[in-house]
Symmetry: C2
Subunit: 275 residues, 2 copies
């Protein structure tokens, strides 16, 4: 394995000493293919141009990657026909399983190195998730980690991230915050976890962000309203960047009085801050 | 104070029942005015169009807001001359001071309500930080909070966020992460805090992200290298989206052997994960 050479890091722009490809972390829209919105509303033109020229991709899901690239093509024609692009899928780790668990480590052997092969051969490689920024709340981080270990250049491109949008729109503490992933599904464990997050958010003055698969949106909201203190501020962001989406923040007591019925098709981010 | 009406929240797109303005959280470029890069590389066209039409702004810094709007104008002509726009500055809370401290609460009286006056009068209001997403690691969250309390609609627009870009580019744990702000400046407190963050990142498998003002980049790096364990993975992202910027991740032991000299003018994000 080749070592990173950190001293290069500080010298500013310079030509790479070897012609390896770079990893471009390409943000995706947040609509999970459910809408046919214009990508120009969520991705910078410069980023769309990069997407249009990349010929090698490592993606969370090949079908949704092709759908994304079709939408890119509608703005900037792809440099090659969609069928001629090299699109490889990343292995899927289990949700909520820490990436440095023994199981994850065993799964992290060859597939990730194989995915980097195009970069070794000098091709820039796009990394694409089903929604938002790859490597944030999805398996892409394993590939980026492998790239750093191999000394490849990594560049994250700006675009929508539901976590940051939800945090900003919450008006809760944005100087300190944590993304804690998914809640446990077992009711007692879930209740304990909710109370633990609330206590921690109060102690550390740290907004806690969590997500769920859309069909469990309402169950999570009900669990939060059942177990949080009335004065805790709870923010719900759902369908961010999508028609019908919204972000709203209120004390738990107020949400209890007027509880919305959340869509079971749009992704939601919940943010809470104990008082 | 008017109450939020959460039941509206779930019904999808609909006309507002009263003609109030909305709060648009407008992401800024990450170059702090130091570069004259093309905004189309970092902001979606649809977002630039919204920026071009907004006539009322609540901003972190008026001078940098005008510089931003000039750059917007170069892409999409502003709906009014720059001098005719209404640009008001937000109060600046002290760095590192939790927003729910008594001092912050006292400071949060009238100025925030005043800033929302245009929205009450029916005008959409842009919120702009000096860099990145307003409300994330900056004072904008107070204004958003005030807007929610007043029942105003809040919409965060997609764009660059150095924290998310740094996290994605780090390849560290992206299923759980925390942004912890700034380190203490006093050396002993700083050392303790670094060891505390490392221990917590290991225990919770939670990437810890922190920032510093650019002129202290090197001091923070040296403190991190002095107090972290050799096997802890440390990621440095500096000058994200800018020429000469980079993201690189390596174990602390490796950074110690080859320590870069970081620019004292470009913003940096440090990310660490104990093993």
């Amino acid at each position: 394995m080749r070592r990173v050479i950190p001293q290069e890091a500080a010298t500013g722009p310079q030509a790479p000493t070897v012609t390896r490809g770079r990893l471009f972390l390409m943000p995706n829209a947040l609509d999970l293919g459910g809408e046919a919105g214009d990508l120009r509303d969520v991705l910078p033109d410069g980023v769309l141009r990069i997407a249009a020229r990349l010929q090698y991709w490592a993606v969370e899901d090949a079908r949704s990657a092709r759908a994304f690239l079709k939408r890119v093509d509608a703005v900037h024609p792809l440099s090659q026909a969609l069928q001629a692009l090299h699109i490889a899928e990343m292995p899927r780790p289990q949700k909520g399983r820490p990436s440095n668990s023994p199981a994850a480590a065993r799964a992290a052997g060859d597939p990730w190195a194989d995915l980097l092969a195009p970069a070794w051969a000098g091709h820039d490689l796009g990394v694409l998730s089903e929604a938002g920024m790859p490597g944030v709340a999805d398996p892409g981080a394993r590939l980026v980690d492998a790239a750093h270990r191999a000394g490849l250049e990594v560049q994250a491109l700006p675009g929508p991230s539901s976590l940051v949008l939800a945090l900003a729109a919450s008006g809760l503490q944005g100087q300190q915050f944590a993304f804690v992933g998914y809640l446990p599904q077992e009711p007692d464990a879930r209740a304990r976890r909710i109370r633990e997050l609330e206590a921690w958010s109060r102690k550390a003055d740290q907004t806690q962000l969590l997500i769920e698969t859309p069909y469990r949106n309402q169950a999570v909201l009900q669990a939060l309203l059942a177990h949080l203190s009335p004065e805790t501020r709870l923010s719900i962001s759902i369908g961010l960047t999508l028609p019908g989406g919204f972000s709203r923040t209120a004390p738990v007591a107020q949400w209890r009085r007027e509880t919305p019925t959340l869509s079971d098709r749009m992704p939601a981010v919940f943010a809470l801050l104990g008082r």
